[in-house]
């Protein structure tokens, strides 16, 4: 018989690797990822579904993993910031963009920001500046004022599209 304290078995794929876990129903996905899987890239920021620091990619959607139970991820395909780099270990276009464009200062929001931007560029490979800003509206950054984050995503979009990154005229 099911009970609130009995742990449930879940199986999912995280960054391409099959993963099994035992979780209480109330375990939040972010806690499972950080504590059970020891993937501490996704951060716990506000814990109230606002800041986006805990953003992961789940079944092709950007999800705030502080607002999903781990049991709900049974069978899911998940990508965290640890799975964003290229297969050969080099930086992905987005990671390179954040480095080249100085898209971070303290870096706390960066894993969520890059993971969200990853999905945004899958859905819209050539976004306008406005679309980028609307698309990352669920991720808060308290350092940069977003300007360099937007440039970093523009840099990545250009690189993925095989064109030279050009800054828009001021």
């Amino acid at each position: 018989m099911a009970s609130p304290t009995k742990k449930l078995a879940i199986s999912l794929t995280v960054n391409g690797q099959p993963v099994d876990g035992l979780v209480e129903p109330r375990t939040l996905l972010i806690h499972f990822i950080r504590e059970n899987l020891q993937l501490t890239g996704p951060h716990i920021g506000c814990e109230t579904t606002h800041c986006g620091a805990c953003t992961i990619d789940m079944n092709g959607m950007s999800v705030k993993s502080c607002t999903v139970f781990a049991v709900q991820a049974d069978g899911a395909e998940i990508t965290t910031i640890e799975g964003i780099a290229n297969a050969d270990g080099t930086l992905s276009a987005l990671q390179e963009g954040f480095r080249q464009m100085h898209g971070l200062q303290c870096g706390f929001c960066t894993p969520g920001m890059i993971t969200r931007a990853h999905r945004l560029l899958q859905e819209n490979p050539n976004p306008t500046e406005e679309e980028i800003r609307f698309g990352i509206a669920g991720n808060l950054c308290r350092c940069t004022g977003y300007q360099n984050i937007v440039r970093a995503i523009q840099y990545a979009a250009a690189k993925l599209n095989g064109v030279e990154f050009r800054e828009a005229a001021e």
Binding site: R26, L28, H31, G52, M61, S62, F69, R116, G135, A137
Partner: protein
């Protein structure tokens, strides 16, 4: 912030979910997108002993046309609504409103069923559904029934849902071809609930308003249908005097609470402005077509 303990259930049919709700009683809650319920559980403002996750139920998803109505199954997400060409062409105001809800991550999870069934006066879709005169399909131990959105809301978080019932679908009459529409939402920042918002669907003939419905969000304990305001613009060309009359008629039924979004007086003031702007923009859409 960790939710209290609960037992997790994942039924595979609506019938099983209804059966579980009936057996487990008041300590059981259905879990849709979870983006209202889980934050409440983390704050321990909600402590359900059982969660009945509706994600395993295949026939609770999807959007289809049924004659002159659009049927949106309850677990359809805001993201699905935005991606739907059927919604974009037949009921575009829902497309416009869904883009103003929360943020991208929340829209991937948040469902239309949860949004309308929760009874939260801050949610946007109830205001849209009363404007469109939609009806809700409810399934419970006694079978299924249909309740008009305009009859569904009784108070903040109080609705016509009986214990053991689940909202399974929303049926929206398709507005006439060539109608004008607008949803005007004033909010402090992206992702916020409305300080005040107004939905308008209207038709015009010969430059005059022929039919009009106006709904209001977060300006009372429930979404409101502003009947007098809508009637007051019929037969007018929406000149400044008509807009002002409509705004004043709408203000007369607003009873918002004062909160972090401003005192009641302010919210009533801007609520009228949202009505004026929505009327103007809806009419402009017709004139531009």
């Amino acid at each position: 912030m960790i939710p209290g303990p609960f037992t997790y259930h994942r039924p595979e049919s609506v019938a099983d979910a209804v059966k579980l709700l009936g057996e487990l009683g008041e300590e059981a809650r259905p879990l849709a997108g979870g983006h209202s319920l889980i934050p409440m559980m983390k704050l321990r403002l909600a402590t359900p002993e059982h969660l009945i996750d509706l994600h395993g139920i295949g026939d609770l998803k999807g959007i289809s046309r049924d004659g002159d109505r659009i049927v949106i199954r309850a677990m359809t997400t805001q993201h699905d609504l935005i991606a739907s060409e059927l919604i974009g062409s037949a009921v575009p105001i829902l497309h416009e409103a869904a883009l103003l809800i929360a943020d991208p991550q929340v829209r991937y999870c948040g469902t239309i069923g949860g949004n309308v069934a929760n009874g939260d006066p801050g949610n946007d879709m109830p205001g849209l559904m009363v404007t469109l005169d939609a009806s809700y399909e409810l399934q419970g131990p006694e079978g299924t029934r249909s309740v008009a959105a305009r009859e569904f809301y009784q108070g903040a978080y109080f609705t016509a849902l009986e214990p053991g019932e689940i909202l399974t679908a929303i049926s929206v009459p398709v507005p006439p071809a060539g109608h004008g529409y607008a949803y005007e939402k004033l909010k402090r920042k992206i992702g916020d609930y409305a300080t005040a918002a107004a939905a308008v669907v209207l038709t015009m003939e010969g430059g005059k308003v022929a039919s009009c419905a106006i709904g209001l969000t977060n300006l009372a304990e429930t979404a409101l249908i502003a009947e007098d305001a809508a009637k007051s613009v019929i037969g007018t060309s929406l000149d400044d005097a008509a807009l002002k009359r409509a705004a004043d008629a709408a203000r007369a039924i607003m009873t918002p609470a004062g909160d972090g979004r401003g005192p009641a007086e302010y919210r009533i003031h801007v609520g009228g402005i949202m009505v004026e702007r929505a009327l103007k923009r809806a009419a402009a859409r017709i004139r531009a077509a």
